[in-house]
Symmetry: C2
Subunit: 200 residues, 2 copies
DNA sequence: GTCTATATAGAGATAGAC
DNA sequence: GTCTATCTCTATATAGAC
């Protein structure tokens, strides 16, 4: 949105497109689907955007700029290692809550879109995300907050996947808030589901 | 395969189709893609199958019959609750190792395919899967093996998602075997990544 | 079992009127 | 800013020859 004011027609159309892309996938969403949902005809969309690709491009870039700004702030903060990791998990669940369509598009279509030159930045963001999590995990181990025997790469994948895949079932405004889900996920991630002490 | 013997032409074509579907998604895979990969022309595929849908249908049903047979065997076993849960996780990683294409298709296309009458069994299998995991978790809590304060539904989603989403990065025959991945995932799932005792 | 040829439908995108 | 009309390409699927 243009700084929290009334959304422009362009922003409104992007919002509608994002919903369609998230629901049916990028390739599986037709320009006519988007136009129908917006109450106009398909040709009219081309007054606002060059192509279907331009729409998803703008959707993803806007979202990722915001998300990675938050990760950077966490990395740059003076919090202890465990707090940083928790904050990163919480920020991610908040993103799922506030931008579920964008997260879903990234989860479902990034691989496919990434094969085009225009979307080369998706691979960059992917590498950047890996760097963020790996840094947090390594800081955690160094600080004695995380188990020293952890396989860092595997743990990174575990965290990344468990967090983002929640977009498949989490529904904003449902019974469970994103902070509740984050609480429980952080607890399982850090302490496990086992009862008693099993950290041999 | 027809019992472990030489695969028939039909089975060979299904294998090729599964790979294409897994790589590009069902809708995004053309019958020409499949025919090209098989070294024949698109029209020739229709000698073996009615439609693209019939291909994915046969792929998914064959896979799920096998997988759920294994879950049923675990549920019916006399193992203790924790062992059953571990076995279910391990069987799932083994499925990712041995049938990565089938798992990927189910992960990526089940939602979309499930909206057609013909694929109504996908929703049934989904409900059955939920039943398997929820049963194992509840048995684990009742037996004192799992924390009594767990949110069963959330824990079910957590386990289901973390296990199956690994199909996105796990590569059979790579450096890490499926049993290694399962070992580490079971450890994180049960005991967490935190160092020391935090099970307050 | 595969190929040639083609019917039919749906997709993204464009030009110009309103 | 939207509509009318349409171009072009690509997709699934079919019929009949080899």
């Amino acid at each position: 949105m243009s700084a929290a004011s009334t959304p422009s027609r362009r922003e409104e159309l992007l919002r509608i497109a994002a919903q369609q892309f998230a629901q049916k996938g990028f390739r599986n969403t037709t320009v006519r689907d988007i136009a129908d949902a917006a109450g106009i005809l398909s040709g009219s969309l081309y007054h606002h955007f060059d192509s279907k690709e331009s729409m998803v491009d703008e959707i993803l870039q806007t979202f990722q700029d915001e998300l990675f700004g938050q990760y950077d702030a966490i990395l740059a903060s003076g919090d202890d290692a465990r707090t940083k990791l928790e904050r990163a998990v919480r920020v991610s669940f908040e993103a799922i809550d506030q931008h579920p369509h964008e997260v879903a598009i990234f989860q479902n279509d990034a691989d496919h879109l990434g094969s085009f030159d225009r979307f080369g930045y998706l691979a960059d963001r992917n590498a950047q995300s890996r760097q963020v999590w790996v840094t947090l995990i390594e800081e955690g181990i160094a600080a004695g907050a995380l188990r020293p025997d952890l396989d860092v790469t595997l743990t990174y994948r575990f965290i990344r996947d468990t967090v983002w895949v929640a977009v498949r079932w989490y529904r904003p405004g449902g019974g469970l808030g994103h902070t509740d889900v984050a609480d429980q996920y952080v607890r399982i991630l850090l302490d496990g589901i086992s009862d008693g002490i099993n950290n041999a």
